[in-house]
Amino acid sequence: MPGMPFSGYVLLSAVLFVAGLVGVLVRRSPLAALMSIELMWGAATLLFVAASRHLAAMGGHVFAFLIVVVGAAEAAIGLALIVLIFRGRDGADVDEVRSLRG
């Protein structure tokens, strides 16, 4: 099956990464921000796997698995933090958490 050229993967990965980045910057809901971060993880993982096949080296696959594991852990910790921070509050808005203001 004639696969996509490597540059296509790179482009797709870049699109996904930028979409996640914009999501982190503009969404005020912490859940949305967390999901956007997951999107960025996904973009990075995609690039690793694509590059691994393109270069016929297995290192990228190893990193892909590693990222999946770390991403899962990050999601778990992030969700726990969000639950803790917003338990006593009305809404869930990232901008309202400003107790570290200098």
Binding site: V24, L25, D95, V97, R98, S99, G102
Partner: protein, 641 residues
Amino acid sequence: MEITFWLLVGIPVLPLLGAAATAALRRRASRGMLAAIACSAVALAFACTVAALIRFGQAGGEGVLHAPLWSWGVAGVGLGLIGDSISIWFSLVVTGVGLLIHIYAAGYMADDPDYGRFFAKLNYFIFAMSLLVLADGFVGMLMGWANVGLASYLLIGFWNRRPAAAAAAKKAFWVNTVGEVGLILAMLILLTSSGSLRFADVLPQAGLLPPEVLNAAALLLLVGAVAKSAQLPLFVWLPDAMQGPTPVSALIHAATMVTAGVYLVVRAFPLFEAAPWGMPAVALVGVASAVFGAVAAMGQNDIKRILAYSTMSQVGYMMLAAGVGAYAAALFHFMTHAFFKALLFLGAGLVIHHFHGEQDVRRMGGLGRESPFVYWTFLIGTLALVGAPPLAGFFSKDEIVVELLAGGHTALWVLAVAAAGLTAFYMLRLFCLVFAGNPYRVDASDRGPAEAAAAAEHDAHSAGVPAVQAVPVLLLTILSIAGGWLWVPGLTHVPEAFFEPALARYGSPAPVHAGPVQAKEWTMGALLLVSAAGAAWAVKLFGKSRRADATGGAFARAAEAGFGFDAAYRAAFVEPLRALAGYAGRVMDPQVVDGAVNGIARLAGTAALALGRLHGGFVRRYALVLVTGVTAVLIYFLMAV
């Protein structure tokens, strides 16, 4: 060679070890132990000096014992010890009289809570003074010079809870600092002009230097000598230094340290002789101080201040002798003066103890009947100072005054004889007020209850003088009698023969005898006549009645105030310095120093507030900044590639 080295090194180092030991043990060891350590350290130093004298004698009395210690790389700048006749002579008196005064102090200070501190400082003084007289160059001498100044400061201010003692200590230190500046400047001149600071290098070539350099060096050295020896016009610290304990006054401010100026002039005499103004300046300072000190002593009422001005006057005689080239006579008078002045001060300590700390001679009297021991020893000291034959002061003073007439200095001779008359007057006045008449009784109403109780208690057990104090006084009495017999005209001439090689080494010309042939007879007659007249006048005025002030109130007030010298120095130096310090405290410190410190603090605070605004707690802005930064780094590296 080896033994000589260790003997010379031992003289200053043993008292230094004693000082360290007493200082370290002052809270743990018993009083007897502390006194034993201190006294044995000085006794060992004295033994070393005697042994060095014996070796010096074995070497024919001509050579010089030398112990080089180290050199600081610069040629001629280093430290070493020499034992020639001058330094051994000084060292004998310093350690010998020092030992006697240490023993006396063991009894005198017995009630003082700071016994160990006292002996540590006293031992430290002996170290510094030995270093001063044994050093083989100006560098080592300056080290000793500065250290005796510090020891003097520490001991004048020994009773450091008394404001007067603390002020006197500071005054002495300041005035001596003036002298040290003069000494250091003279050393710099000598180092740049002759390339060395060792006596053996500098002194023989003194005549080769240009006269203006010699004048500057000699006069600056004289400034140092004048400050240390309490001569006009830098004597103001000496009367105040009597705030120290009496053994300190005896050791430092009468017998040894104040003669350091005489030592300096005699040691560096080739310089003073080569400098056109050198010898006249020394003689002038000496005669002025001899007369001024004697006049001032007539008007004092504090027993120790009388003796202090007397010391100034007698050191003036030594300076005068050095200034006319009679070095052996100056050194001889230094030794006899150390004996009888130490005796007088130790006797004054007994007198003060007897009168329960009273130092005003107008409030004393009748001690002659109550304590014959003090009476007789003090009488011997007084007569030795006045110059009654055959006591020590007679021969040494005579030797100086004879040289004046023999050298043709008639004006100086007249002044010196007149000062001897004044000496007899003030000493007999002191003696009569203390020992003659009836005991002074303070009215009960004048005396507080505590004071009266202390006096009563003291009376109960002040029957006699403790042996530890009596023995040194007795030995000094013997020395004050017999010390002068070393140089009896026509019979013995020990000092002259002893110093002749040391003086001849630098080519000191024999004293010129330009005066009348009967100089000896004239001088002896004049001295005896004038002294007897002064003494008789004093006895007539004070022998029976208690008229303390015979010369009019204005004179007494002026004498008490040191004839305006203190006021003049206060106006010229102390007040401007105070004003400068006040200005610095009021303006410089709060505005310039604090202003700089506060300004830096305010700058840091303002910067922190400005930077703190970046931390708004706005998480998405942090993210944006992060992204922007990473993007910028990426772009930078991509552009670089």
